[in-house]
Symmetry: C2
Subunit: 443 residues, 2 copies
Amino acid sequence: MEHKEISILGAGLVGSLLAALLSQKGFGVDVFEMRGDPRSQKIGEGRSINLALSHRGITALKRAGVFEKIEPALIPMMGRMIHDLKGNLNFQSYGRASQHINSVSRSGLNNILIDHAESHGVNFHFDHKCSQVDLESVAMDFDDPSVRSVSSEVLIGADGAFSMLRRALEKTDRFNFHQHYIEHGYKELHIPAVNGTFAMEPNNLHIWPRGSFMLIALPNPDCSFTCTLFFPFEGDLSFDSLKDDASVLQFFETYFQDVLPLIPDLVAQFQTNPTASLVTIKTSPWVKNRSLLIGDASHAIVPFYGQGMNAGFEDCRLFMEWGEKLKFDWDKLLPYFSNHRKADADAIADLAMKNFVEMRDKVADERFVAIKKLESRLQEAYPDSWIPLYSMVTFSDIPYSKAKKLGELQEQIMRALPDDFDPMSHPLVPIIESFNALKKDVL
Amino acid sequence: MEHKEISILGAGLVGSLLAALLSQKGFGVDVFEMRGDPRSQKIGEGRSINLALSHRGITALKRAGVFEKIEPALIPMMGRMIHDLKGNLNFQSYGRASQHINSVSRSGLNNILIDHAESHGVNFHFDHKCSQVDLESVAMDFDDPSVRSVSSEVLIGADGAFSMLRRALEKTDRFNFHQHYIEHGYKELHIPAVNGTFAMEPNNLHIWPRGSFMLIALPNPDCSFTCTLFFPFEGDLSFDSLKDDASVLQFFETYFQDVLPLIPDLVAQFQTNPTASLVTIKTSPWVKNRSLLIGDASHAIVPFYGQGMNAGFEDCRLFMEWGEKLKFDWDKLLPYFSNHRKADADAIADLAMKNFVEMRDKVADERFVAIKKLESRLQEAYPDSWIPLYSMVTFSDIPYSKAKKLGELQEQIMRALPDDFDPMSHPLVPIIESFNALKKDVL
């Protein structure tokens, strides 16, 4: 049996970044990935091809010294561009003037991270499908007959929502596991470039909120957009109900009129592209002996806050920070990480579910828009005191669990506003005072 | 590959009863059980050796014509006998005069059910450990080389909280799964008979409620009692903290003074008997093609309402009733069962968790006792209108989900009573009127 210092399962975004960080720290790191080397392959079907990178992810990437390689490929998105039924546009900025999130290609980012980790001495083993993990001996078996078995000082499962390491943990006593699929699935559609340029304003995240479902679009570097339709699997208006070409076309004509001309082969795409499901996974503990789950393997979330990747990257940053604090004493660090990160993972999972309702429904709501305006005034006047929930999650390092609690207090205050409050003149002082009083009780 | 009409995984309580019921209906039924024939074996370690059989379970057993064989082995328990710190006793009846639950031996009951099913033509295959289920072909593989593979028209997984059929379902897309271990474990202790008779009053369920933990005892036919200590795994006062003999003894001296003389070898039992964990499992859907989960395999619950077995037996009754309604058209019946029983399984899971707090803490509470008295008057005066929650769950066939909703309304009403209400003179009419008004809104 081969023996390694640190083995990481999964060469995805989180596995590659953590490998680089640990290798930079002087550890011997081997990464085992069941798929082939993505740098020589096409992108897997059914995965999102672009993601929203924001502050937490960037902080971690900077720590690994890789952000400068990624920055040129980012497309800033300054806010939400809301498309109504008639195609009218309404812009809502995400934060203060310079604050934005970034559209980035999953595969491009992954390839840069693998290159970066490799250049720092990480050994990648592609086409290595782990068939079994033994938690007692910290050993993995592989399907590949040339490398049957590998043991390690430390094993980290960064192998995603269907983690093999988690499968081993699931068989242990007192392992808590929660896996919930939402009623909606998603389907990606492609808006091509028009005459070499973007078919819509590129520096925004486009949303077509339609109550119980929605369409979104993120820009790509080749001037195309990737659209994602989030839509119920079953019911009167659902993937299930759109069986033939005519019903697909009619559906888009009714709900996404302005998109139709941008996707000439819409019906063909709709019938060909896969429909994928959306899952929330919560687990605890994330650790057993010298094995640890990280990223989606322990806390997969729905994509509606754009935080899945960012949370995984933040996992890596915290793992390194806490590792330094605990001198990389694995028997302390692994349980410490599991105990201290769990509440934040739960918080962002819940926030992401809640944001689905906001994105598909509330963004089109008058009161929602008024509250956003008032919050923007509050933040301007009291930048250290009132940070809107979206900004705490997206543009800060405030732990998700704390952000969630503060957000609940903010919501409580905003709910108490009269129906006809004027966002531009409503007095700010009483709001800040009651917020500060509530904060004292909660934090 | 052998082919069967109906295959049931698991010859436990639910598997055996369902096998008998289906066989009585004329179906060919084979039951595959990984353990040996329990009729020629000792009881498995770590399983509760007695259970509380109540109305729902009895209804199902009667349907199978097996209740008369079980009845002689039952020990009626008329209510809770509460033991305080000083050993003072306080009796709380479970229901109206004749209403009671029944202590029954798990293994004795299981053996009767297997005998009964066998006498009705069911084929039992013991020592058959299922290694894999193929949901597409409704086929099972076994470790046993003599029977490698069995396919079936219908496969029913009655194979408990660690179901192999569920393992196959867990790998399918959009399978929701929730597995939660509580902070408490349990340990069984044995109070022997004294001079051939019971050491305590036999026709009650004895409870030593101690706030964050509790001890209970159920009578056995040999005049012994089986005690169960429900106690945190970790913390200041926990299984973890009672490391040596002296601390075990001191713990019992402090909290269970009156039990100490009844268990001469207490410390030895405590150190030898296993500590087991307690899990809630929720899943959905319970069905895929022609395979169905039933009983603990789909909805394992904590034992604090005494409803795990009763819920499983009620599953069997409903499966047969709905089966007759749908003419045993499996492609209709299996999804129908999954869709219509799920809410009740969720409800009893939640009620069972809630009842833990009631048993270990509230039963010793003055207001709780006063409310019980008032409820008893309400039931006496309005027997068709006000049935206390415990009675709906334990002594009726009212669906668990409906009982839970009604119980919430009752609780809402009781919470609104003044601190100093007199349970013996408080007027009943306004309570019934507001309950009836609330019911109209909810049901």
